[in-house]
């Protein structure tokens, strides 16, 4: 490849990096602007200020942000755990067994995945108020399963299909017990798929907004996206922009790190489940 061609590839690469990172850089820059600096009309702050972070981490806005952060982590982790646990068994059955319900299960997962969330919210809003699940953790964990479960079943089935299951028998022939064969051979092969599925399911739950604003009313269960969406400043005279930017950066950084560390697996998980020859 000629040097000229190489240069072009690097230019294209830089363009893609700019595309992906520019809005992130902007929100980071915005989060370091002091309130008086917010309207300076330029991309960068005139002077870096940690004021916004102080405001959301131990200032007036912390009573809104910190509980939301705790709710988001707790609710999303539990919903992820439940759906990964359930779909582990389902995916094993789909990948390894031959039974007529297979297509029905995968079809249902597809149907649930394309379901408009708002159509579920309306009846749940009413029902949750009647049975006392409104504004509670379980009140969000249950509907989150409609987001995470179909995706987990899909992604994990695709991963499990790739596992060379005959290795299990080979181990048994070599004298391993059934349990040993499963634990020493199958578990290490299946673990990356399970782990990747968990990351993707967590992203989906972490991203939810509709359930979050509709089924909660206080800091008891309101997750971060909903808290951000309804954030209107500690007092009505305060512009919430800086605080929102700082909170946005805090919830975005862990996700960006996860993506950078596990990108290869996440790409495989996202595309295996969806497109397969």
């Amino acid at each position: 490849m000629s040097t000229k061609e190489k240069t072009w590839w690097y230019v294209a690469g830089i363009a893609i990096a700019l595309y992906a990172l520019f809005p992130i850089a902007w929100i980071v820059s915005l989060s370091f602007k002091a309130p008086s600096d917010l309207a300076n009309g330029s991309f960068l702050p005139t002077a870096f200020s940690g004021e916004n972070y102080a405001l959301i981490l131990n200032g007036d806005a912390s009573s809104l942000f910190l509980p939301a952060l705790r709710n988001s982590f707790g609710i999303c982790l539990i919903a992820t755990f439940i759906s990964v646990f359930l779909s582990m068994f389902a995916a094993y059955a789909i990948a390894r067994l031959d039974f007529p319900g297979k297509k029905l299960i995968l079809g249902t997962a597809l149907g649930v995945a394309i379901f408009p969330v708002i159509s579920i919210v309306t009846p749940l809003f009413n029902l949750w108020r009647q049975i006392g699940l409104y504004d509670t953790w379980p009140g969000l964990i249950i509907p989150y399963l409609s987001l995470t479960l179909p995706l987990s079943i899909w992604t994990m089935s695709a991963f499990f299909r790739e596992i060379p299951w005959e290795m299990e028998q080979a181990a048994q022939v070599d004298g391993a017990t059934t349990w040993q064969a499963f634990r020493k051979v199958i578990v290490p092969l299946a673990a990356p798929g399970v782990f990747t599925t968990a990351i993707i399911a967590f992203f989906i739950a972490w991203n939810d907004f509709v359930y979050g604003i509709s089924l909660t009313s206080t800091g008891a269960s309101r997750p971060v996206p909903a808290a951000l969406g309804l954030f209107s400043g500690a007092s009505q005279f305060e512009d919430p922009t800086g605080a929102i930017a700082a909170a946005a950066v805090i919830v975005t950084i862990p996700v960006v790190i996860l993506v950078l560390v596990f990108q290869r697996r996440i790409v495989a998980g996202l595309t295996n489940g969806a497109v397969k020859g």
Binding site: P23, K103, L106, S146, V275
Partner: protein
């Protein structure tokens, strides 16, 4: 299936080995039982969290029911649907939703394809970096992305007005969220930024399936880049394109987060999802809100149906059920 009789099997043609299925061996029976035991709970939970709520929504939609006035709940049949379908607000929101869907999906398909092409052919040295970086918009919370774009264009906190003041029509005073067209422009921009990576990754997976030999053969035969594109690449990745289109269309049709954050439906930017939300959660009109929800659900089913039947999207591909 287990009781399929031989004559029926014969009549339905030779497509399926129906008579063989008549005697399900013990082994197959045990396998079936185990399969349902393992997959049953997941299936049951999926149905519980979707089929039940939508059934409840259908039921609720038949009542005149306000949460502020629960005593006067009364059965009104389909009148909620009549109210919704004869209201200009509904058609306006359907129009906006379709417009956003059309614009974003069309742009994303072209842009996503370009990104996929670059990632597919990029130097080995930068390929992992590109795939990591492209995932970032996908992983960022939609609400965060909506805020980032909103603040960028905002008349007070933004930089866009000062950066693009040289463009005709843009000045320090430009209020992007002041009218329909410009609001819609920023909304679409935010949606496109956030979801193009997903499309491009699906298309990249499709590109990887196009046989290299075909490309080379076409090149040897003197086909131009465009000819190779149209005759070799695209036909060979049609399945991936259709799956990506189906997913993104359905996703775009449900657009809600960006609308809520950026305009809250102002200047006629209300989408169907937002209308349903406003009726139910803000106005506590459970009956009307349910009717809108059911109609949205039907619209999504219709779109999926059109794709699957009309464009013959092979969902066994989508399911990874190769």
């Amino acid at each position: 299936m287990t009781t399929t009789q031989a004559p029926t099997g014969a009549r339905t043609g030779a497509s399926a080995p129906a008579p063989v299925k008549k005697q399900v061996s013990d082994r197959a029976k045990a396998e079936r039982k185990l399969g349902w035991m393992l997959a049953g709970p997941a299936m049951a939970v999926m149905l519980l969290v979707t089929a039940y709520p939508i059934a409840q929504a259908v039921y609720d939609s038949l009542f005149d029911y306000r949460l502020t006035d629960p005593e006067n709940r009364s059965f009104t049949g389909l009148s909620n649907y009549v109210v919704v379908l004869t209201d200009q607000l509904w058609w306006q929101s359907v129009g906006v939703t379709l417009l956003i869907t059309l614009i974003t999906v069309a742009v994303e398909l072209v842009l996503g394809f370009a990104l996929a092409m670059v990632m597919n052919k990029a130097l080995k040295a930068i390929r992992p970096f590109l795939r990591a970086v492209i995932l970032i918009p996908y992983a960022v919370i939609t609400v965060v992305s909506a805020f980032a774009w909103q603040f960028a264009f905002d008349i007070n906190t933004g930089f866009v007005n000062s950066w693009f003041a040289w463009l005709p029509g843009v000045s320090a005073e430009t209020d992007w969220f002041g009218d329909f067209g410009t609001s819609l422009f920023v909304i679409c921009l935010a949606e496109i930024w956030k979801t193009t990576p997903f499309i491009s990754l699906l298309l990249l997976a499709g590109l990887a399936q196009v046989p290299e030999v075909l490309q080379e053969a076409a090149q040897v035969d003197g086909a131009t880049w465009w000819q190779r594109m149209r005759r070799v690449t695209i036909p060979n990745m049609k399945a991936a394109i259709m799956v990506a289109l189906l997913f993104r269309t359905l996703d775009a049709f449900r657009v809600f987060d960006s609308i809520f954050v950026m305009t809250a439906g102002a200047n006629g930017t209300e989408t169907v999802s937002f209308l349903a939300y406003r009726q139910t959660i803000s106005r506590l009109e459970i009956g009307l809100g349910s009717a809108v929800s059911v109609l949205l659900f039907l619209a999504v089913v219709l779109i999926a149906f059109i794709f699957i039947k009309g464009f013959k999207v092979d969902l066994s591909q989508a399911r990874g059920d190769g």
